[in-house]
């Protein structure tokens, strides 16, 4: 099978790119392990579809190489690579039946008839589509069509990786869960590398073992869903993942104390020391609302409460810390009087960022 290596890969859509601003995709080095379930997460226009199209061979990168198991495939055409792709909008061949659709990639590759029949039956069984094999693909629902386009990838025994380009966009919400869990199941039973592009964090976090977060054409963090949540490597990751996202407050740091709001602001105790912060950098303090709990006024850091949103399971308070907006949890049983409250922070979960990037602190507690 195949692991996919991106080696100094970069792409610009305009010819003769000068600086980094011309690149739709900035330099990336990454290895997609064989059999991994990856999500490529980022807002629209961050370059994730470009990256996907480079892997599938629909776009030839400006710089760098792509290796499948060490073999350079950078300039190989799509059909010569062992990949399949599922697109945002379901692509089926309208005039064909489901069976003919599934057989199409094999027929084009000259696979013997009996092998095709066996393989199509097998994949249709896995996708729960045996009953509709002889229906016209055109007349099926969007989720069934999306399963057909997935099936056209699965029937090929040479396929090592399947790429998904926001495949659930046009699927009804109640079917999304179903389709996503059948994807996970297929992934477990078939030992395929799956790369799933999405801008929906729930889809990414539930589908993938490893999430690659992209921003402005660059990879900002690669990690398990838990790592992205607990230790965002970039303030963007903190913002983008989580609902609501991480609180990011401009701060200045001295030793193990952060000051928010300058003179007359508040002091926040840190679990680690930051002695070697780069001079002149924009220093920010980041803490997720889940690790910031409101308490009655007098305890912890003094804050002003603006509004409380009841989300059913939890209550989220919109607050201001020394004039900077933030969010925090309101624990069960806490009653607040007036707009003054205290904020209890978990020092272990406070991160310090310099110019957006996470700074590792020294020592611990």
């Amino acid at each position: 099978m195949a692991s996919i290596t991106l080696d100094h890969l970069a792409h610009a859509y305009r010819p003769n790119p000068q600086g980094p601003q011309d690149y739709a995709l900035k330099e990336i080095n990454h290895v997609w392990r064989q059999g991994g379930a990856y999500a490529l997460l980022g807002p629209s226009g961050c370059g994730k579809t470009t990256l996907l199209n480079i892997i599938s061979g629909l776009v030839i990168p400006t710089n760098g190489r792509i290796l499948f198991d060490g073999r350079d495939v950078t300039h190989l055409p799509t059909e010569a690579r062992n990949i399949a792709q599922v697109f945002q909008f379901p692509v089926v061949y309208d005039t064909m039946t489901v069976r003919q659709n599934l057989a199409f990639p094999l027929k084009n590759r000259g696979v013997p008839r009996e092998d095709i029949d066996r393989r199509v039956e097998e994949i249709a069984g896995r996708l729960d589509m045996s009953a509709v094999l002889d229906r016209k693909a055109q007349n099926l629902t969007a989720d069934a069509k999306q399963k057909i386009s997935l099936g056209r990838g699965l029937v090929r025994s040479d396929v090592a990786a399947i790429l998904f380009d926001e495949p659930l966009t046009v699927i009804d919400p109640h079917l999304k869960w179903q389709l996503r869990s059948s994807l996970k199941e297929l992934h477990r039973s078939l030992d395929l590398t799956m790369i799933y592009v999405t801008h929906d964090q729930t889809e990414a976090l539930t589908f993938a073992d490893t999430v690659v977060v992209m921003h402005d054409g660059a990879v900002v963090q690669t990690g398990t869903p838990e790592e992205l949540f607990v230790r965002p490597a970039h303030t963007f990751v903190g913002h983008f993942i989580g609902s609501p996202g991480m609180n990011v407050l401009p701060a200045s740091v001295e030793g193990r104390t952060a000051h928010v709001g300058g003179a007359g602001g508040v002091a926040i105790q840190l679990a680690r020391g930051y002695s070697a912060l780069p001079a002149g950098a924009r220093i920010e303090l980041g803490v997720r609302p889940e690790f910031a709990q409101l308490a009655p006024a007098g305890a912890g850091v003094p804050v002003v409460v603006k509004r409380i949103d009841d989300l059913g399971r939890t209550r989220i308070a919109r607050i201001e810390i020394a004039g900077h907006p933030a969010s925090a949890l309101v624990p069960e049983g806490v009653h607040l009087n007036g707009d003054q409250a205290g904020l209890m922070l978990d020092p272990q979960q406070i991160h310090i960022y310099a110019d957006g990037a996470l700074v590792a602190g020294q020592g611990g507690a």
């Binding site: 629909l58 799509t78 059909e79 792709q85 697109f87 061949y93 309208d94």
Partner: protein, 301 residues
């Protein structure tokens, strides 16, 4: 459960359309129907003839029936040739048209040019162009040793009319197909590449099915126009040599305005009209149902 307010004054909104259609279509057609069952010797005197003209028209052994069926076969043959050439050629042209850049605008303008020329001018252009003595095409063909003279030779006349129509109308088919091709999302082509489809497979499985609707329009338009063709052959050959290029419309005008046989001409134009309608209905039905699934008949148990 009908809770919709009923208000008969709504009919007033339909009245203007009804009036326009009445004066532009219903009244003229009824006038023709009226003529078709009568005979006249001028002086606005009419005599009842019942279905006599229709019986004569549909009987090939009579003079009227004979010339009608001759012209009808000629016309059907002409339409068949036109469709057989212009539809595949139009698709081919559309497939090879550029997809982006300044070339698109240039090609579109170039393609639209023949469509903008008035029909009698088209006829005149080709009449001069194909003349054996001073026309570039006619002179060149004869110079190459190919005997060519559209005023005297049946084959030459037919070839000239067909080439003229292809020159005039293939653009229309091509432009319609081009619009159909442009509406296919890129993902289809990308999926086909991943599936390893050949150029021919892409054409038959993606492009042709997606062009079905515009092709239907193209076929209907080209059939109707070629079946009702009048101006260009009238200018080019005047229906000759002999009656070799006398199509139905030319014959109809000869009958109605040349011989002033209003009854015969009215009967002929009604039948002519019905044929156009019938053939268009067949095309429409066949092409909209081609490739669709037959509805599964539920058997009540």
């Amino acid at each position: 459960m009908m809770e919709k307010p009923l208000n008969n004054r709504a009919w007033l909104l339909v009245a203007p359309v009804f009036l326009i259609v009445a004066f532009s279509a219903i009244l003229p057609i009824m006038t023709v129907v009226n003529y078709s069952v009568q005979d006249t010797f001028g002086n606005n005197q009419f005599f009842w003839n019942g279905l006599g003209w229709f019986q004569e028209l549909l009987d090939p052994s009579t003079e009227l029936g004979g010339r009608f069926f001759d012209a009808l076969w000629r016309n059907l043959m002409f339409s068949a040739i036109i469709l057989a050439i212009e539809v595949p050629l139009g698709i081919l042209v559309a497939l090879s048209m550029p997809r982006d850049g300044w070339k698109v605008a240039a090609t579109l303008v170039l393609m639209a040019l023949p469509l903008l020329i008035p029909w009698n001018v088209v006829g005149t252009i080709w009449q001069v162009f194909a003349r054996a003595d001073i026309g570039l095409a006619g002179w060149a063909l004869n110079a190459l040793g190919i005997p060519y003279n559209y005023t005297g030779d049946v084959i030459s006349a037919w070839v000239t009319i067909v080439v003229m129509d292809v020159w005039h109308w293939t653009s229309l088919v091509a432009l319609l197909c081009y619009a159909g091709l442009k509406s296919i999302p890129d993902a289809y082509y990308q999926a086909a590449r991943i599936d390893g489809a050949s150029r021919w497979a892409i054409f038959t499985t993606i492009q042709l099915p997606k062009m079905k609707r515009v092709l239907l329009i193209a076929v209907l338009l080209r059939f109707m126009d070629s079946f009702m063709i009048y101006t260009e052959p009238f200018v080019l050959t005047g229906g000759g040599p002999g009656n070799a290029t006398t199509f139905l419309s030319i014959d109809l005008v000869k009958l109605a305005l040349g011989q002033f046989d209003l009854g015969k001409a009215a009967a002929m134009s009604l039948v002519y009209n019905l044929i156009v309608l019938a053939v268009c209905w067949v095309f429409y039905t066949v092409m909209t149902h081609a490739g669709t699934e037959r509805p599964v008949r539920e058997i009540a148990s």
